[in-house]
Amino acid sequence: MKNIINTILSHFKDVKPTLKIESNDSNFKYELGVDSLDMAEFIARIEQEYRIEIPDEDWSQIASINLLAKYIANANQ
């Protein structure tokens, strides 16, 4: 799980280089101010990295780094 979180953080840093993440539970939209365009690129990068599919309907379930890491871990099982 730690590896997944590190990978997510590195992609997140590429997409939003100036953003500081205080907690891995921070909500992308409401606490970190990630807009839908940033989110689209971020998700696309994660999908490419892990060769998984994250349908647009599932985006609400992956509202923070921890939730996204769990989603990826489940998808890879």
Binding site: L37, A40, E41, I43, A44, R45, E47, Q48, R51, I52, E53, P55, D56
Partner: protein, 315 residues
């Protein structure tokens, strides 16, 4: 001459031109053009267009498939996807070439000869988009990320230059161009409405591959020949990539990330680019079709890159 083209194979599925001697002659010319550049050609001639499954059973050991057929057939019906799966689950790009007469085959052969025959020094890629933050953002991101010695990205969004300058740049023979924005069967919404007739320079060099990551530019709704098909038939690009239906912005963002990654990992033909860049979700690729040469190189000459550098933009 630095040619990156390696030994490749292509399966061409074509109609039997039994009474049309001119078409048969021009087809042989096309076959010989591919052979001239070290591409092994396998041919299947048909009376009734073979089904997807019939083609699928023949694609073993091929790098790409080109399906030639009557232009009365829509790209949407001619192919299911921009690639075909082998029995080992490998994706092989498949392209559609609509032909109205023997002249179309001749023009296509000439384009193939030009794009395969030029030096492939640099991947000069035009990043095009409609003037809207949603699309210019993708172009900005791609331009930032495509930072490698063999890549020359040009940020030519509609807010940065005139349509005429953008076309002048493309007509210098760029290897690759990608467009993000709204699209219609007759062309792009960006650049004050771009249509195929805007490419009017008769002496222009063809683009290697022109990718329209937007809705419907390969759709035939309310038009005889779609924008994507027309550009190939006019010899303006060796291959075009466009949608036969509406697409989602999130899916096109997935394509932008995939294309960027594929370019950075050294894809040098449209075949490699499409196979590497295809997102995993069905909705991302199900509406897209390849029109033209599925093995078109996306690299071009240093001179082209220098010319593109001098295209005037207004930042």
């Amino acid at each position: 001459m630095k040619l990156k083209q390696q030994h490749k194979t292509i399966l061409i599925v074509k109609p039997q031109f039994s009474s049309d001697v001119k078409s048969e002659e021009n087809f042989i010319l096309l076959q010989n053009t591919y052979k001239k550049y070290g591409i092994e050609v396998h041919v299947i001639s048909y009376n009734i267009r073979p089904s997807y499954n019939e083609i699928q059973s023949q694609v073993q050991n091929q790098d790409a498939v080109l399906l030639i057929g009557d232009a009365k057939c829509y790209p949407k019906n001619a192919l299911k996807f921009p690639f075909i799966k082998t029995s080992e689950n490998k994706n092989i790009p498949i392209a559609w070439l609509p032909i109205r007469n023997s002249e179309d085959l001749f023009t296509f052969s000439k384009t193939i000869n030009e794009v395969h025959g030029r030096k492939q020094d640099q991947c000069a890629v035009a990043l095009l988009s409609q003037k809207h933050p949603r699309f210019t953002r993708i172009v900005d991101r791609m331009a930032t990320i495509l930072n490698a010695p063999s890549l020359s990205p040009y940020k030519w969004s509609s807010n940065l230059l005139l349509r005429e300058s953008m076309i002048e740049g493309l007509e210098s023979g760029l290897g690759l161009a990608t467009y993000f924005g709204h699209g219609r069967p007759i062309g792009w919404v960006g650049y004050y409405g771009l249509r195929s007739h805007h490419f009017e320079n008769k002496k222009a060099k063809p683009v290697g591959a022109l990718l329209s990551l937007c809705c419907k530019t390969a759709s035939r709704k309310n038009t005889a020949i779609s924008f994507c098909e027309q550009l190939v038939l006019d010899g303006k690009t060796a291959v075009s990539f466009g949608a036969v239906d509406s697409t989602l912005h999130t899916d096109n963002t997935r394509w932008s990330v995939g294309i960027t990654k594929a370019l950075l990992s050294g894809a040098n033909t449209i075949a490699e680019l499409i196979v590497q860049a295809t997102p995993k979700n069905l909705s991302s690729y199900t509406h897209y079709r390849l029109i033209g040469d599925p093995l078109a190189p996306i690299y071009s000459t240093k001179e082209t890159a220098l010319f593109a550098n001098n295209i005037k933009t207004y930042p």
